[in-house]
Amino acid sequence: MLRTLLSEDFPRSRALTAVVLLIVLGLVLAPFVFPGIRSLNTAATICIFIVLVASYDLLLGYTGIVSFAHTMFFGIGAYGVALSLKAFPASWGAVALGAGAGLVLAMGLALVIGLFALRVQAIFFAMVTLAVASAFLILASQLSGLTGGEDGLTYRVPRELSPALKLVSAKVMDVRLDGRIVSYYLIFGSALVLVLGLLRVVNSPFGRVLQAIRENEFRAEAIGYRTAFYRTAATCLSAGAAALAGVLMALWTKYTGPDTTLSLSIMIDILLMVVIGGMGTIYGAVVGATLFVLAKNYLQVLMASAAETTAGVPLLNELVSPDRWLLWLGILFVLSVYFFPTGIVGRLRGRA
């Protein structure tokens, strides 16, 4: 059973198994073990980013395609739901409609980009997608009548997901069981299904072809694979999964705007999560996303306490002030690439 669920792709290292179990357990119990709005939000963000990063890994780690357009697909999914919930009364039908439309549009766009980009070199593809994604970002802000422009869209979600819903009046373990909890478990469940699905795809014969293309595209052609087709298919699949992650994001935040879904900085975060976690392993996405989202959410808190302890030291205090958190994030970028050249998963497996 577990074998099938995990597609016979096990962590293959005791340490990694422990880490993954810890993460899953942490996420399952998050609302009760770490109460508070901030931590619940962190947990939900982790779930969403795990899907997003895993879908990107399908492209980057498994197929060897560097794309900067992944947030675009993420955004399309989110905007799909946002627009639909804005246009229609908040119902599950509207959510499904928006999600469906986003999915179709994302995959369609991925198809177009894929078909075009097959003609150009790998690194060109990266730059092309960078340009396309930034144009899309500008377009989204320009079509303000539709998308709310820079300001984004705020909307209501189905009643079951809003705090207004009270499941039981009493608190369980000091936590109120309201729509937010429902919402969280919806996101957790969907993320789990999507990640297992992606794990299945990369271990299927199709996934193996992608790896072969990554290794030696010329040779893959010579043994009879139409690599153009496979690469496009991978692009579409990953775009679709990203769009679904966007749907989850839209449902969770009840707000969709360029800064939460389309921006280049999210794209860079995704890249970093894949690389820190370990490319070409879905487990890497899980570990990378978790660590990075945690770091990003609590870096400022950490620095605030560092700033307190160094209150007397002039320059140092300036450097560790929470306002300079970006500085440390940048340093984190550099260091994590150095210390985890094969990703955390590579590290853990190497030791085991």
């Binding site: 150009v120 060109f124 144009a135 500085l327 340093i331």
Partner: protein, 341 residues
């Protein structure tokens, strides 16, 4: 021994092939003529074309360093954006200290101040480039993805350091007195500052091209990118060479930063990142590692922005992307990919 000796050389390719190879060089005049036809008004066309070409030169100055590093060393350096910003800030510091010179009604003093600012900026960014290469890039040669990440990290750190040193405010950077305003002749407006940009851009272009095509240095760099190990086995210190190229590329970014800062007259820590996508587009259109291609690409982008901005403002937004798509459809490796001269 064998009759392989008999034919000493191969015949040159047919005319059609040669014409096709030259086509990229005709794109700029072609676009200009197309612009004239569509705009139909000679003086408007003149204003737009001259401005567009100068704009192209400015972009080229910023892109040249990137194409050098990206094309020759195969390093995708997002930190380039930070060098542009830092160059601008260092240059601005010098220029703001020399208000006596910049405010004077003397072209010589004005240019002197700009020159000093440029030298200071190039020294600063060149030095920073050296540090960057040693500390940040060195461990990730050959790994694009990691390059993207570490240089992105470097970019963030550099932007933050700018905030730390120069404060979070944008800094106004007025042009020197004699470079303000425009000349107007027969309805054609020519901004004075853009003339400086053209002169500088052309000088850089010629200098770079010469040193890459006519010196061993260029040869070595090209060989080193392809197979650094083999270049070392021939007795050259590739590492040192790469540092040199990287420093040169960074210094050019600094120069570009000063010029762009003076163009915008306002500088911010994010300016480099903001312009970076455009710079990447130019490098791609040109073809990796080709200084000529980058030059042509920059001019095309400059012209295209002005023509579309005038004729169809709605299209202006996507004009660069459109240009890139069209060029890549025509030539999947860019206009003049390196390895062709």
């Amino acid at each position: 021994m064998t009759d392989q000796t008999s034919d000493a050389s191969i015949p040159s390719p047919p005319l059609a092939d040669r014409l096709k190879a030259q086509a990229p060089y005709w794109t700029v005049p072609g676009l200009a003529v197309l612009g004239l036809v569509l705009i139909a008004d000679a003086s408007t066309w003149g204003t737009l074309t001259l401005a567009g070409l100068a704009m192209g030169m400015l972009i080229f100055i910023m892109a040249s360093g990137l194409t050098l590093v990206f094309g020759l060393m195969d390093v995708l350096n997002f930190g380039h954006g930070a060098f542009i910003s830092i160059g601008a800030f260092v240059g601005a510091t010098v220029l703001l200290a020399l208000t006596g010179w910049t405010g004077a009604d003397s072209l010589a003093l004005n240019l002197g101040a700009v020159l000093l600012a440029i030298v200071a900026a190039m020294l600063a960014t060149g030095g920073l480039g050296w540090f960057f290469e040693r500390v940040i890039i060195k461990p990730v040669y050959g790994a694009h993805l990691k390059q993207i990440l570490v240089t992105m990290g470097g970019l963030i750190v550099a932007e933050e350091l700018i905030h730390l040193f120069w404060g979070p405010n944008q800094i106004p950077l007025p042009r020197p007195e004699m470079l303000k305003g425009s000349w107007v002749a027969g309805g054609v407006i020519v901004e004075k500052y853009r003339v400086l940009a053209v002169v500088l851009g052309a000088a850089i272009f010629i200098g770079l091209r010469w040193s890459l095509v006519h010196t061993r240095l260029g040869l070595l760099i090209r060989a080193g990118v392809e197979n650094g190990e083999m270049v070392e086995a021939l007795g050259y210190r590739v590492r040192r060479l790469f540092v040199l190229v990287f420093v040169a590329g960074s210094a050019l970014a600094g120069l570009g930063g000063v010029m762009w800062g003076l163009y915008d007259e306002i500088i911010t820590a994010q300016m480099g990142l903001n312009i970076l996508v455009l710079v990447f587009i130019v490098v791609i259109i040109g073809g990796l590692g080709s200084v000529e291609g980058c030059f042509i690409g920059a001019l095309l982008v400059g012209l295209m922005a002005n023509y579309t901005g005038f004729l169809a403002p709605k299209v202006a937004l996507g004009s660069n992307i459109l240009l890139m798509v069209v060029i890549l459809m025509w030539r999947p490796r860019g206009l003049l990919p390196a390895g062709k001269g």
